[in-house]
């Protein structure tokens, strides 16, 4: 029975977008964390900045729209207009803090011989050198855009640094103009080496500002400053015609360049006439203007980091281990057939088995068909190459490509066309639904039998992000699981309609929500019947209202719950709910795997999924939840969860006030990502040595022992 307090929304929920900002704050905390190497800390600044850009492009834009159309409160009771006010406050605090940390980091970096100098700090020789660089390398690619009676206000690119200036020619009327700082050029220009092995950089926009007279000769520049706008970049694909999806997306992307500006960033202290004119021209209100003390576009710090060759300032590389279960088998097919289920955890383990599997399939004369979902693929993706190769070899290759993966649309269109040309059957999923499930299936004739091999995972088939995101999945040849995947592919390719029952898996938007609800309710029933109830759920975000209400019921009923939620968490743990603990881990790898464990009265069930507990995942996307069947895989997952729940180094706990707090007894030995990497490395080592496996020597703890 729902308890009475359930109706008090504010007590049960945090606002989704404020929670997201808290997540970004946790990322920034990593930049402030002194035990992190210097360049790693700088990376976290860049990530925070990039995250914030996307937040404005998507969420603030959406809230702004909602504020002007209904302004209905979210489950936490906050109206969009109220959220926008709080967001502004939080963002200001965040950027202020970011500036302070960055200053500190840059000072430390200067001590190491890597400094960013202002133009006026350059020596005469350096200044001369900089002018030469400007003339030879920068000037040719600059395009000044004047605004006057003959030239309307230009289309300014979202995210790019622009320079605004007010120019008074010797003759004629003064005019305003813009110069875009080209993103193709390095943002940080190495101008000198102050110490052996060190580097001195200047910012590209400063160099352009210093040489504006070259662009506008014979006059006077009255005002000038750099700025950056962020536009509403959220695309609504719901009304797209699926037949012409690729064309529609192309059109909509072009249209996106013209969308409203949602943020204007300038350096602090800018307030003159030129600024007012700019604000007016962009039709942007004061509350969307941010004047930062720090440099603009901190995401480009990645460019700086790539130019600093000092491995001592970076964390040691954690080389992905070769999956132990594949060792000794000539092909991945052989390994899957022998082991039935093989667990892969990236980036602790290598992504190469996926690529190998595809490459083997492409050349294997017995392989008849390959099907795969692709959401975000890397540039020059080996996955796509293998699929192309397979198609060219006459395999039936079907790729369900999600064109609508946000900010990857252009990239995906390019791949779609390439795959299509190679003879693959490229399908763009179901109209109105993003295909977010991660599935790969290969049909292979083996003698008289037709066998199928699958990989199901929590992350994208992207070899680059597989080195940065923690994801996991299984390789399997279980016929029932394969049957489910085949049926789901048929729905995605439009060859069959939903309604064919799935035996082991659950899929959104069909039955995933009911499955999750049933699993939680079952734990409540166990508790009500006197048995222990247990839930451990690891996901990226938790924001679905119904799931949160259900979790409150489960917590009230006495189910022991551990939630490991990296990002948004709208569940507000109540002070009296001592049996629910909510953690967030932010570390060098982006926590991305979705692992769900349900105690099931002692017979624990593990599931992996592409879905978070967000409404969009449960209702508006194609997602997959699949059970883990092999005891060995369950052991691996148990270990991973155990490491995370035991992490006192990078784990923060969410309190009922919404604050995330670090563990008091921070212990680097308990850093979960490092322990996970060691665990898989040790497994690989044991396999190489041919001795007994680690698991055999150290039998995993029982389900109940997982509880910290």
């Amino acid at each position: 029975m729902p308890s009475r307090r359930i109706s008090y929304n504010r007590r049960l929920f945090f606002s989704r977008d404020l929670s997201w900002l808290d997540f970004n704050r946790r990322v920034l905390d990593e930049a402030a964390f002194e035990r992190n190497p210097l360049l790693e800390r700088l990376k976290f600044i860049a990530i925070t900045s990039g995250n914030l850009d996307e937040f404005f492009m998507v969420r603030v834009a959406e809230l702004n729209r909602l504020a002007h159309s209904g302004n209905e409160a979210d489950p936490s009771g906050l109206r969009p207009s109220e959220q926008l006010v709080q967001i502004r406050e939080k963002v200001k605090r965040l950027t202020r803090m970011q500036g302070q940390i960055l200053d500190d980091l840059l000072a430390q970096l200067a001590e190491k011989g890597f400094m960013i100098a202002h133009i006026e700090e350059l020596s005469r020789e350096e200044r001369t050198l900089s002018k030469g660089i400007f003339r030879n390398r920068i000037l040719p690619v600059l395009t000044p855009m004047a605004v006057d009676a003959a030239h309307p206000f230009p289309l300014l690119n979202s995210g790019a640094i622009e320079i605004a200036l007010w120019f008074e020619p010797e003759k004629g009327k003064s005019c305003r103009a813009f110069v875009e700082v080209p993103e193709l050029l390095p943002r940080f220009i190495n101008i000198a080496s102050p110490v052996p092995g060190g580097k001195k950089f200047i910012l590209l926009e400063e160099l352009i500002l210093d040489n504006l007279e070259t662009l506008f000769p014979g006059g006077r520049i009255l005002e000038k400053f750099p700025f950056r706008i962020t536009r509403d970049m959220d695309l609504d694909f719901d009304d797209f015609d699926s037949v012409n999806l690729i064309q529609s997306i192309g059109d909509r992307l072009r249209e996106r360049r013209q969308r409203d500006a949602i943020r204007l960033e300038t350096p602090s202290g800018i307030s003159g006439k030129l600024f007012k004119w700019l604000k007016k021209s962009l039709r942007i209100e004061d509350e969307f203007c941010y004047k930062d003390r720090t440099m603009l576009h901190c995401r480009q710090l990645f460019d700086l980091i790539s130019q600093i060759t000092a491995s001592s300032l970076l964390e040691k590389e954690w080389t992905p281990a070769a999956p132990a279960e594949l060792a000794g088998f000539p092909t991945v097919f052989d390994a899957i057939k022998a082991k039935e289920e093989i667990f892969l955890a990236f980036p602790f383990q290598s992504f190469s088995p996926i690529v190998r599997l595809l490459e083997e399939a492409a050349d294997d004369p017995d392989v008849l068909a390959i099907k795969q979902t692709l959401y975000r693929v890397s540039g020059n993706s080996p996955v796509v190459k293998a699929l192309q190769h397979a198609a060219e070899n006459g395999k039936q290759v079907t790729v369900v490509l999600e064109l609508k993966a946000r900010f990857d649309e252009y990239n995906n269109i390019t791949w779609a066309r390439k795959l299509d040309r190679s003879g693959a059957h490229v399908v763009y999923g179901i109209a109105g639904l993003k295909v977010h499930s991660k599935m790969l299936m290969i049909v292979r004739r083996e003698g008289e039998r037709l066998n199928r091999y699958i990989h199901l995972g929590t992350g994208n088939y992207n070899d680059k992000t597989a080195l940065q995101y923690t994801d996991c999945g299984i390789l399997s040849c279980d016929p029932t699981l394969c049957g489910d995947v085949a049926n789901l592919f048929n729905v995605l390719t439009g060859i069959s309609t939903p309604g064919i029952p799935l035996a082991l898996t659950s899929a959104a938007p069909f039955n995933l929500r009911t499955k999750f609800e049933a699993l939680v309710k079952k734990e409540i029933e166990h508790v009500n019947s006197g048995r222990p109830g247990r839930i451990i759920a690891k996901m990226n975000s938790l924001s679905d209202e119904k799931m949160i209400r259900l979790l409150h019921l489960a917590a009230d009923a006495g189910v022991e719950i551990d939630l490991i939620v990296r990002g948004i968490c709208c569940y507000r743990p109540l002070p009296e709910q001592e049996n629910i603990r909510i953690y967030s881990i932010v570390d060098r790898f982006l926590e991305h795997s979705r692992i769900y464990y349900f105690g099931n009265g002692g017979d624990g069930e593990y599931y992996l999924s592409s879905a978070d507990w967000m409404t969009r995942n449960l209702d508006h996307r194609v997602e997959l939840l699949f059970p883990v069947q092999s005891e060995k895989t369950k052991d691996h997952l148990r270990k991973l969860l155990e490491f995370q729940l035991d992490d006192s180094y990078k784990r923060r706990k969410l309190t009922s006030s919404g604050v995330y707090i670090h563990s008091k007894d921070s212990d680097p030995e308990k850093r979960s990502q490092y322990r996970s990497w060691c665990y898989f490395r040790e497994l690989a080592r044991q396999e190489l040595l041919g001795s007994e496996s680690l698991l055999k020597r150290n039998p995993p703890k029982s389900d109940q022992q997982v509880t910290p």
């Binding site: 079907t398 004739r445 008289e448 016929p479 394969c482 060859i495 064919i500």
Partner: protein, 526 residues
């Protein structure tokens, strides 16, 4: 080994697995395709199940033909399926149409377009073929589960177009009838007439099934209460709802708790089909099935006080796949023989036939056939046709002893007889027609309109049946264990016991002429 002992299909070659096969089922509200494999032991594994909604049934049940729009969609769907088949390297799937297209007057057009545009051959299943295929698959499954021996069960099979009712006693089919009470047909008809689904009950009542099953041996007072075995999507969904699991798959039989089933039915009949269907995440078409299915199940549970309820996961497609597997095995004897004989016996009893005589004739006909089959060509499945004709040749006596052969032919032509196609049933009817009196003449249109090869088939079977009937003209089974030998152009029948066989000799002289004409063999009784 006579036909009464050869109850199951005997293989002439070792079993061979079907590595990949596909079955396309063009039904009343969807076009479905299963791709699967069948192991050497007959275990079916469905690799993929596809379904695309296409309400051909609405066109056909209302207007009698498939509309142009539906036909276009059908062609489009099958083109997609054709592509799918390439993934499994399957070039010739088995494509069948059931109740909807079966009743469409323009079915030939559909068949032709599919042949030309998709290069697929369409097999339009007759209702008796459909139920036979489903029943055989179920029987195999029951056998594998150890449930077939002495099985006593009522099996309602609810489809979109029809409701089949099958009654099995001692493991053999005793009754099978198709009622035009499929869920789509009922919804459409009742919907247009603005009748509630409960009106189904009056239609079901009018079929008078309890009385007819009584005639087939179902005893009301018996302690051996029949089991209720349910097939069809509604039954599978009920099983899913009761077991909180996915509906049973093709190789599974699930036992339901009758008490829980009763509670579920009460809920469904109380109008919660819609709510339940949301929980089960099923399509609107399946919801209609579920609603009507609950009425049907409720009716049978109440009416026959069934001891237990089983749900089989067999679908038309999985049954067809099993059928394709049987075809591949080149069975020496038809696996439906035992059930057909059982049905024919029940029908004979219903019409007051001399059961011993019918059996003697059927056995003798079988013996003669086996003696001749290596030297003469016979139509396919002659063994089965002769058995049916042997057991049913005298049922016309129920109408009138005079000209009873004509009455037998009429009754056979117009009864539902699973295991035989319409054409085969016609051969059986005409064989019975010519088991006595005049052989075929020019003045017999039902014979004259047959294709040439069918005429020959009728003549061969009728000739054998006449001889078999003549040899038991005294209805005393004198030749039940007779030996048949052939010397030159003469066939000798040697009665086991020394007795007076004059009557039979006389009868044979009268009725054997057709045999001599057809096979060129003289007949002698010793």
């Amino acid at each position: 080994m006579d036909i009464l002992i050869r109850r199951k299909g005997v293989r002439s070659v070792p079993k061979k697995a079907l590595s990949a096969c596909a079955v396309v089922d063009i039904g009343s509200h969807a076009v479905r395709m299963d791709i699967g494999t069948v192991s050497a032991s007959g275990k079916l594994t469905v690799l993929e199940s596809l379904s695309r909604p296409l309400a051909i049934g609405y066109d056909v049940f209302r207007h009698g033909s498939i509309s142009s729009a539906a036909l276009e969609k059908l062609v489009h769907t099958l083109k997609l399926y054709r592509e799918k088949l390439r993934e499994y390297d399957i070039s010739r799937p088995r494509m069948v149409a059931t109740s909807a297209l079966r009743e469409a007057f323009n079915q030939e057009l559909a068949s032709d377009r599919l042949k030309n545009e998709v290069d697929l051959d369409l097999e339009i299943l007759e209702s008796t073929q459909e139920i036979t295929i489903v029943y055989l698959a179920l029987r195999e499954e029951l056998e594998r589960s150890g449930l077939l021996n002495d099985l006593h069960a009522i099996i309602p099979v609810l489809g979109a177009g029809s409701l089949f009712v099958v009654y099995v006693q001692n493991g053999e089919m005793r009754f099978c009838e198709e009622l035009p009470l499929g869920s789509m047909r009922i919804y459409d008809t009742f919907g247009r007439a603005q009748l509630p689904p409960e009106s189904l009950l009056s239609t079901l009542k009018s079929a008078n099934i309890p009385q007819r099953l009584k005639e087939c041996g179902l005893s009301e007072s018996s302690t051996d209460r029949p089991k209720l075995i349910l097939l069809g999507v509604s039954a599978r969904n009920m099983a899913g709802a009761l077991t909180h699991d996915a509906p049973p798959g093709e190789n599974r039989i699930v036992k339901l708790d009758n008490r829980k089933l009763r509670q579920l039915l009460d809920k469904l009949l109380g109008g919660s089909a819609y709510t339940l269907s949301n929980t089960l995440d099923i399509t609107p078409a399946d919801r209609a099935d579920l609603e009507l299915g609950s009425h049907v199940v409720d009716y049978f549970l109440r009416k026959f006080n069934c001891s237990e309820t089983l749900v089989s996961g067999i679908t038309t497609r999985s049954a067809l796949m099993a059928d394709s597997f049987r075809r591949e095995q080149k069975l020496r004897h038809d696996p439906f023989t035992a059930d057909l004989i059982s049905l024919c016996r029940t029908i004979g009893r219903k019409y007051g036939c001399d059961a011993n005589h019918a059996q003697s004739v059927a056995l003798m006909a079988d013996k003669i056939y086996r003696k001749l089959k290596n030297n003469f060509t016979f139509p396919p499945r002659s063994e089965l046709l002769l058995a049916a004709a042997g057991f049913l040749h005298d049922i016309g006596r129920f109408v009138d002893v005079r000209r009873h052969n004509r009455h037998s032919a009429y009754l056979i032509s117009n009864m539902q007889l699973p295991g035989l196609t319409l054409a085969e049933r016609e051969i059986v009817a005409l064989a019975a027609r010519y088991h006595r009196k005049s052989p075929p003449r020019e003045s017999h249109p039902e014979y004259m309109l047959l294709p040439a090869e069918t005429k020959v088939a009728v003549l061969k079977l009728a000739a054998i049946l006449r001889v078999a009937d003549a040899l038991d003209s005294g209805h005393d089974g004198k030749f039940s264990h007779a030996k048949i030998t052939r010397e030159g152009d003469t066939l000798f029948f040697l009665a086991e016991n020394d007795g007076n066989v004059e009557g039979e000799r006389f009868s044979l002289e009268n009725k054997g002429e057709l045999f001599t004409q057809v096979f060129g063999l003289k007949l002698k009784v010793e």
